[in-house]
């Protein structure tokens, strides 16, 4: 961690504004993410954090501003294009494929790595089979990494919440992303599960060198994990800097104390 000084910028967000009708969700937000860092976005409920992630991976289209990812600037991008450029994410409310097993969820995360056509797939021979086996091994690496061997073939719908979160992380990792967006990865977890998840996030960052942008409510976790923190409040950018700087920032303190909030 803390290598951002030397590292290049992987993503930069410039003057992004997003509205739905008259509701302004994001107002002139600019920040950047350096390759290899863990970047947190915090703020009270409704601050526009999730919307920011949605803009980054192309799910929402901002009215103004631009996004530069790996040197390529764009205003709009379909989500699957963002995915193919190396952005993966997890969701605030678990968005797993409920009818499928853990393994299949993770395998689906690898769909961009797989190319064989329908014909070979129908035969399940030759390249299709080979590809399936290779990617199975890659998926198994992730299962091993996340320590979810015991639920490999279980349907995800019936798993406990904490494990579902883990599988979702696995699905995102399966894509071998350059930038991983985590939307409240620890929401609703007990402290032991949070500890596990923090460890996985750090390991992902150090083991695979994945850049991580993270939304999280638990301030302790944020301050421990992050290299830098961006603070949003009602769609506006309140502060941006090292965890310690942000912690001391008066605007941030006011926003957190002024807004009734269960975690503040």
């Amino acid at each position: 961690m803390n290598r951002q000084n030397a590292a290049e910028t992987i993503l930069s967000v410039e003057n992004i504004s997003l509205s739905f009708g008259i509701m302004k969700v994001l107002d002139d937000i600019s920040f950047d993410i350096k390759r290899g860092e863990i970047r947190s976005i915090i703020g009270p409920n409704g601050a526009g954090k999730s919307s920011m992630l949605n803009v980054i991976n192309g799910f929402y289209h901002p009215q103004e501003g631009s996004i530069t990812f790996k040197g390529e600037t764009r205003k709009q991008m379909a989500p699957h294009v963002a995915a193919s450029h190396g952005i993966a994410r997890t969701f605030q409310n678990i968005a797993l494929f409920k009818g499928m097993s853990t393994l299949d969820n993770i395998m689906t995360g690898r769909n961009l790595k797989m190319k064989t056509n329908l014909f070979w797939q129908a035969l399940h021979l030759g390249p299709a089979r080979l590809e399936e086996l290779e990617n199975r091994e890659a998926a198994e690496q992730i299962i091993d990494f996340l320590d979810i061997q015991a639920i490999r073939k279980k349907p995800v719908g019936k798993l406990p919440y904490g494990l579902q979160k883990r599988v979702e992380l696995g699905r995102a990792l399966a894509a071998e992303p350059d930038l991983l967006l985590l939307d409240e990865p620890m929401a609703g977890m007990n402290s032991e599960e949070k500890e596990d998840m923090s460890r996985f996030i750090i390991d992902v960052n150090s083991q695979f060198g994945t850049t991580i942008a993270l939304i999280e409510h638990d301030m302790g976790v944020v301050m421990d994990l992050s290299d830098r923190v961006l603070v949003l409040d009602y769609g506006k950018q309140l502060a941006d800097g090292l965890p310690d700087e942000v912690r001391r920032n008066q605007d941030v303190i006011d926003a957190y104390l002024g807004v009734p909030h269960e975690h503040a």
């Binding site: 999730s50 799910f59 968005a95």
Partner: protein, 302 residues
């Protein structure tokens, strides 16, 4: 375009509007149920057929006078609603919409078979003394409009007005609106979900009866009546699944659209395009406005 052509155009349009009213009536039944329970009731058309068959049956087989037959049919429809809730809906609470949809297809089969067995499957004439024939006043002006159709339009208007009052002014009506938004809220009004379903299916049954009477008077009570249910689907698409005014206006658009298309385009492609035109219209419409005429744009959250 000369005068005669123009009058013909008016005639076609008006006749389309009238047919549209009929579609609207069926669509109305759909909307009521969908609003209150989120169920896409495929059996609405068959309910109209079943209601009409019951009406005719009561009159022919039991010699009921018209008014008694109508009351009797209403009673049957309410009993049916109760039965449907008891036997079917209650067992399917919390199932996915597609499952409920399937169940209503099953219901359609059952009702169709029952209607046929109870009342026979031959085409029946339904004569309630609704005036037939051309409407002289317009006929004199060179436009041919069926009196029946005008009557139907009038009835539909009354029906809609009645429903509007019912929804806006009565306690049950308000509860029904609440349940469409939020099931919990409805419970707080003090009416159980089961009761609400029975009521809404009863109302839909009565709407079906009206639709059945109108269609039956026009072209006899027969199996094809249930197919108008399918015609109501594009109406719903246009109007949106939850909008009463949408159902009315959507019906009009479809009615007029398909008549015009049949008359002006049909001859060039072999005719009978009525069968699919409405769907194509709805489809084209959907591509540009997926939420329907009166629906709101949905912001998806993740």
């Amino acid at each position: 375009m000369n005068m005669l052509d123009f009058l013909f155009f008016i005639e076609v349009t008006l006749s389309g509007l009238m047919a549209g009213v009929m579609y609207s009536l069926v669509a109305l039944g759909f909307v009521l149920i969908f609003k209150a329970s989120g169920i896409f009731n495929f059996a609405q058309g068959v309910m109209a057929l079943f209601a009409a068959l019951t009406l005719v049956g009561l009159m022919e087989k039991f010699g009921f006078p018209i008014w008694l037959a109508i009351i009797g049919t209403i009673a049957v429809m309410i009993a049916l609603a109760w039965l449907i809730e008891r036997v079917m809906l209650r067992q399917l609470v919390n199932q996915e919409p597609i499952i409920l949809f399937m169940a209503t297809i099953g219901l359609a089969y059952v009702l169709e078979g029952m209607g046929d067995i109870l009342w026979g499957s031959d085409v029946k004439v339904l004569d309630l003394g609704i005036p037939q024939g051309a409407w002289e006043w317009l006929y004199d002006k060179g436009v041919y409009i069926e009196k029946l159709e005008m009557f139907a339009a009038g009835t539909a208007a009354i029906m809609v007005a009645f429903l509007a009052v019912f929804f806006q002014k009565t306690r049950i009506g308000r509860a029904l609106r609440a349940v469409a938004d939020d099931h919990q809220a409805a419970l707080s009004v003090g009416i159980s979900l089961h009761t609400i379903w029975v009521i809404v299916w009863s109302v839909a049954g009565i709407v079906a009866l009206v639709a059945g009477i109108m269609w039956g008077s026009k072209s006899g009570v027969q199996f094809s009546l249930s197919l108008i249910a399918l015609k109501a689907l594009p109406v719903l698409i246009l109007g949106g699944f939850t909008s009463v005014p949408g159902a009315i206006i959507g019906g009009m658009i479809i009615g007029v659209g398909e008549k015009l298309a049949e008359v002006y385009v049909g001859p060039f492609v072999g005719g009978a395009i009525e069968n699919w035109f409405a769907y194509m219209l709805a489809l084209a419409f959907l591509l540009f406005r997926p939420q329907g005429l009166f629906g709101e744009k949905i912001i998806e959250r993740v």
